[in-house]
């Protein structure tokens, strides 16, 4: 008799915990989380911001948006240009990003909260420096270059790192240099 009562209590407790767990999961699902994404397809074409005999600075603005239902914090964001020397070795490349709404010039990404359905713009700068001293000459034969925008985001759930890729094509670079 006591055994069955004990079993009943245990089963009831497990059932209540299971119901509460499911209810919480449904609540969390309905509440949602942040969903911050870069929109590299909507970026502006690279333009020459500054040019000298041996160096050119290119800029492109990349919009981003929080498609989620909760605030998201971009804790860090940086570019990663991918041009191995086996592919092209005539220029040195330095890339950095800044939040256009709070522009900085130190390459440091200041953490920013993005509200649901809102967004902003990341300004990407590429500084190409000629190895021989003549940037126009050294950029001849520059190939398509992949650039990953890497960003760390935290919201209601665990922090995570995402990346979105854009490509600086050879044609786009030539077009920018002609302007």
């Amino acid at each position: 008799m006591y055994f069955y009562t004990f079993v009943n209590i245990i089963v009831t407790i497990i059932f209540i915990v299971a119901v509460l767990f499911v209810a919480f999961r449904i609540f969390a699902w309905k509440q949602g989380d942040e969903h911050i994404v870069m929109l590299p397809k909507k970026r502006t074409p690279f333009e020459v911001e500054d040019i000298s005999f041996n160096q050119v600075t290119l800029v492109s603005d990349i919009p981003f948006v929080n498609k989620g239902r909760q605030n998201g914090t971009i804790m860090d964001l940086y570019p990663r240009h991918l041009l191995p020397q086996e592919q092209f070795d005539a220029v040195q490349i330095h890339s950095w990003t800044t939040d256009l709404a709070d522009e900085r010039h130190d390459g440091y990404w200041k953490s920013v909260i993005i509200e649901p359905r809102k967004g902003g713009t990341v300004r990407l700068r590429l500084i190409l420096t000629a190895k021989t001293g003549n940037i126009r000459k050294d950029l001849v034969g520059f190939p398509d270059m992949n650039i990953d925008i890497v960003y760390q985001v935290v919201g209601r759930s665990d922090w995570h790192i995402s990346k979105n890729r854009l490509i600086l094509t050879a044609e786009e670079l030539q077009q920018a240099m002609r302007q």
Partner: protein, 217 residues
């Protein structure tokens, strides 16, 4: 006749390598008199005490994952890491219990019970809450704020000292103070946030001539 004057003091970025009392002496020592009150921002005191952590260093518990979902988005406890950081200090079951009691009290229209019980939850600033390079950190509240204030008075010879939590939303609270200070009165004086925003780097404010004006009143 002397007037009450609020003097913000610019400093470099202070870190865990700094002693807040010595930093005050270095940047404001010459300007502090025996009738003045030295006010220092609580987040900077906490940083100099090394009371910071990063989300990457925390392992959220199920209690933190559960509770953070019920905190409005603008609060530091709304992120799982903000909630977990409070649990690291106060204990997960204390914070959990405080939250339940707070929810019950709220049902009876009594706000703020959760933060009264869990002081870590009340004092913790989540990421973005502090200026770079600490914008990627969670900053706990200061430890032994009263003792810090007493040390400031002893070292500077000021009339008094307070550790204050002030923001641009017209909220000011004194978290620690030296003997004889009236924290509510000091909080009212600081209500317009003379510390300014983070970029101004003025974590110290001197309330000039406080003692003589208090005597007149």
């Amino acid at each position: 006749m002397a007037n009450l004057e609020l003097v913000p003091v610019h400093t470099r970025i202070l870190t865990h390598r700094d002693d807040i009392v010595e930093a005050i002496m270095h940047y404001a020592g010459d300007n502090i008199g025996p009738e003045d009150i030295v006010c220092v921002a609580e987040s900077v005191v906490a940083i100099t005490q090394g009371r910071i952590t990063r989300p990457e260093e925390l392992r959220p518990t199920w209690q933190a994952r559960l509770l953070c979902r019920f905190v409005p988005a603008e609060g530091s406890m709304s992120s799982v890491y903000g909630m977990q950081s409070a649990m690291e200090l106060d204990g997960k079951w204390k914070v959990f219990g405080a939250f339940i009691l707070g929810a019950i009290a709220k049902a009876f229209r009594k706000d703020g019970v959760f933060y009264q019980i869990s002081r870590a939850a009340a004092l913790t600033d989540d990421v973005t809450g502090t200026m770079p390079p600490f914008d990627k950190h969670i900053v706990y509240g200061p430890k032994d704020a009263d003792k810090v204030a007493e040390r400031i008075v002893q070292r500077t010879g000021s009339y008094g000292a307070v550790v204050a939590d002030v923001n641009d939303l017209k909220r000011a609270a004194v978290l620690g103070h030296s003997r004889g200070m009236d924290p509510k009165r000091i909080a009212r004086i600081l209500i317009d946030n003379p510390f300014g925003n983070d970029d101004q780097m003025t974590p110290i404010v001197i309330i000039k001539n406080f003692a003589s004006i208090s005597e007149r009143q």
